[in-house]
Symmetry: C2
Subunit: 112 residues, 2 copies
DNA sequence: CAGTATCCACAATGATACTG
DNA sequence: CAGTATCATTGTGGATACTG
């Protein structure tokens, strides 16, 4: 394969996952299936609107599966698909970098 | 101040790297130091403005070092710092996922 | 419970022109 | 060559109210 394609695949990933919440949602879904309001609780700060939009985007990308149980009131479960589970290493590496970054900046602030 | 939950470090990373171009720029800088116009060529589609802004952001985050050689005309080199090189695994994993994603979608399109 | 529907603010990005 | 400056457009996210 051409070299030019490899660079663009980073862009490709970021286009899908680059929002503020998407990868974060995925990181919670790695624990197992979750309901809508579970995710609202897990991700304090996200609005209903963004939660819906990002879940839809992940669903459209085939990374998340939405299951509706026709109880009353309805129960909806979100779960990673097999494709979605491919994000595990992505989440891990982002988490690790984020932790390091926060630690570094904490040290920087402390040193001032 | 936000809570220091593990999940939030994913958010932390994405806040810094979540733009359209930043991680892509880093991926090219992993090859070695590059000049401004090298990067413009490497990343077709990026505007001068965004290239400047994102390089500044990465510089401010301590991930990229900017070196000016006082020749005429001036030569400016951008290079990853040691901290910036910590992004290598991030880039790798994003590249890998992006490649897989493009391949999957190509197959999907072909099957239509 | 799990959403939609609106409306709005602001950030991100782009286009174009100009400069030391 | 390596940028700035300015303006316009698009995208992202938030607030609030409402619904089956």
């Amino acid at each position: 394969m051409k070299e030019s394609l490899t660079g663009c695949s980073v862009e490709e990933s970021m286009r899908l996952l680059g929002g503020r919440w998407r990868l974060l949602l995925v990181s919670y879904l790695l624990d197992g299936p979750k309901r809508f309001n579970d995710l609202r609780r897990d991700v304090p700060g996200i609005s209903q609107r963004m939660l819906t939009l990002d879940l839809r985007a992940l669903e459209d990308a085939g990374l998340v599966k939405r299951t509706v149980y026709p109880t009353s009131p309805v129960k909806v479960e979100y779960d990673l698909t097999e494709d979605g589970k491919r994000l595990h290493p992505v989440v891990d590496v982002m988490k690790e970098f984020g932790l390091w970054l926060k630690q570094r900046d904490a040290d920087k602030t402390a040193a001032r």
